[in-house]
Symmetry: C4
Subunit: 255 residues, 4 copies
């Protein structure tokens, strides 16, 4: 297998598609939003991305079928707006892997004609969010229109996020900017300790506004509960060889 | 030396051979089964596989002869059924190494004409198994026949193994599936704390049935008795581990 | 992106330029000096150096604009002396990365015609420096003129620095010597626990003398006063570290 | 710089030379013996071996001159017997690096026409050696003559060293055997906690016998005392960025 191996599952023509990245990270906010979009609009799988920088691991489904771990691109037809949504269970395992993997993701996005990108994630506050006031912070590349983001409720704060943005989300902006791809990172505030559907909803509300689509939120909390259960089981098993869920290390990523 | 270097020791013609992988992992279940097959049927060494992803290490035999660490393929003529059995002392040391090494292993299996593969291992329960009820869990690629496995006593449970299957065993399925090689992982339940010949025997019983061969267990039973003594001593001393026991790291692999 | 990617921002003709390296390290002494030179003489950015050996990270500026982390070369016209000043936020993440990155830095320095190099850093004493007596230690390649350094106040001590010099600063000398580039490392004594503008000033005084330029220290002194306040606060709180302070890991580099 | 870079310093014709490896390891036994041979017989430097798998580090000599860390080959004319002696301050930093570096070392040995190799090291007993009874254990490749070793006082014990031989010494045997180079590892028993000149002397006595040369031991004890002092100083400085001395990790190697 090559270092990165992209499997073409389908090759639909997309109209003005927007690239949306939601890999695991702080509070699993980005992952929740991305998976919610795929399921809510019944997205079609278009690409599988395998890489030797992912853990040497298969997941086993309810039928007992094993499948090599990979990241997925879905085409999501959302209310007339074509989206290309990236989800998965892992970030890369090395610095170099993050760079090469994100480059490959951006290649796919370019191939489908995406001219805008959103990297979704959470930003940890270290304490529980009170009164359901989940702010959404933003960071942009220079091609993006800051005013439109502010109108959609995105906040830009001088010293935040203090440590910059790491992981695939950071590189979607960093490498995207170098390619001339206008990109934005939307980060829902979250305690950082739990899978956080409320933070995901806050991000989704902003995204809804920016993309001019409408999304049903009702299943978001259920989905978060399921995710939490899986995370819990895996933590119980601990001895049992890693898992489909990100490690504590991976949770450090804003993704 | 190349990253992976395969030494041809012998090149017999095999008839409908089955590839069996048993590298170190949880409870050393897979390793015990594979080594038992090689010894019981007096297997012939056919390939040595060296890789720079193994530790920089030689083993020293009773004559004082040093030999570079490597994985071994034996041809095992088991009761009329040709087997190609992979054993060794190490998993790879890196994500990338796991992928490239397993690819090399599958190349060898293909070269010998294997059209089925079994990855053997243990699945940790976290507690001692009572009443000698060692279940064997299964995971399959889509080419494999689930019913035949169920008839042989293999269990398929919805959420297990929760963390998927990591290491070479996982990739025999994951990469095997991508190559169109029907593969199955047989995982004996084991506490996860000790080398477990009883779990190995449970796996061997299933395998016997699936391959339609007969294996003498007596040496494995002896080993089991020795181990039980060890377990007893360890329970007395409460200290545990060390020596010939696999490290905690090795125990994380289902292999 | 390639492993190392050098972006040409400007290509001025420099006259007898001197290469000055000031990446993060012990007490951030080298970084403080290099950044002070760039700001005091209003340097022009000439190169950005990206590498997959840096963390997968973007910084976010006060406008919310994200930028891929990189090292920077500035042309500094200091009092009639052309300087090529290297600054940044990271050392490499691997042994191999240190070598390839420093090679790339030296290639840029050669391209601009630098025939002398200074690697700036701190050397940890393990205790607070008393009476503002900040000595500056030196190490040289064989092309450099030791007497001139001693006249400028640089000390050469038989057993120091005991552990040699690690990181990019060390390699500027080690690889520089192999290329025939006369190079010197100037190391300000510093406790090693805090960002140390006073140690930076001591290094700057030596550098001023060696390069025959004059530098205004007033902003550095201000910084020193701020730092002293911080030191005071930290001593009160006993907690230490965090925030803008370098991590323990970064402090291990003499840079 | 390439991954491995070999600098030719001199190219003498050697007669039936024997390759002797003494890199840092348990008790620094191998290093002590190799350095003693070089100094006692006033060896000539013939090769410097640089590699990006060594730490990014320069050593600074008493004149303040910095030199990139490297391993050294000396030609030692010992009492009519030509030796090619390898010394240095580091083992490789990765599995892959150990393999490629040892291959490069063996290439140099072959180039000079060495047809025998000795890897020198210590084997840790975990307790202080009493009554100055320092046994020397051996391990061989199949080309070597075990009887001659036994006559020289080398012991071969069934289960020792239990964990095999790791690091460059192990690979001199493992890779040497694969090249058809008769090689032996001589391991002096040592507590494993300290630089051990007495264990080095025991190894040297065996080597003297096997090579039919005579070596003056008087400086060995002095050297050990000096080394002990240096180790002490470095332990005091701790903060000071690594160093010329091997880390605890490196002391795990039998070398």
């Amino acid at each position: 297998m090559d270092h990165i191996d992209i499997e073409v599952v389908a090759d639909p023509e997309l109209e003005d598609p927007v690239f949306i990245e939601g890999l695991p990270g702080v509070g699993h906010v980005g992952k929740l939003v991305a998976e919610h979009l795929v399921e809510e609009f019944d997205g079609d799988l278009v690409r599988r991305v395998y890489t030797t920088d992912f853990p040497p691991q298969v997941t086993v489904d309810d039928e007992g079928l094993a499948e090599l771990t990979h990241a997925k691109f879905h085409h999501v037809a959302a209310d007339g707006q074509d989206l290309l949504v990236l989800t998965g269970d892992h970030q890369a395992a090395s610095n170099e892997g993050h760079y090469s993997l994100t480059s490959a993701f951006l290649d796919v996005a370019e191939e489908f004609g995406c001219e805008r990108a959103f990297a979704l994630g959470g930003v940890p506050t270290g304490e529980l969010i009170e009164d359901d006031e989940y702010d959404v912070l933003g960071a942009l590349t220079d091609g993006a229109d800051r005013e439109a983001f502010e109108e959609a409720g995105v906040e830009f704060r001088e010293d935040e996020p203090a440590g910059g943005i790491v992981g695939v989300s950071g590189l979607v902006l960093g490498l995207g900017r170098r390619r001339g791809l206008p990109a934005a990172c939307l980060m829902g505030e979250t305690s950082g300790y739990l899978v956080d559907p409320k933070s995901a909803q806050a991000v989704l509300e902003v995204l809804q506004d920016l993309l001019d689509v409408e999304v049903d939120f009702s299943e978001l909390e259920e989905r978060a509960e399921e995710m939490e259960e899986v995370v819990g089981k895996i933590q119980e098993m601990q001895g049992g060889g890693g898992g489909g869920m990100p490690s504590e290390d991976e949770l450090r990523y804003i993704g």
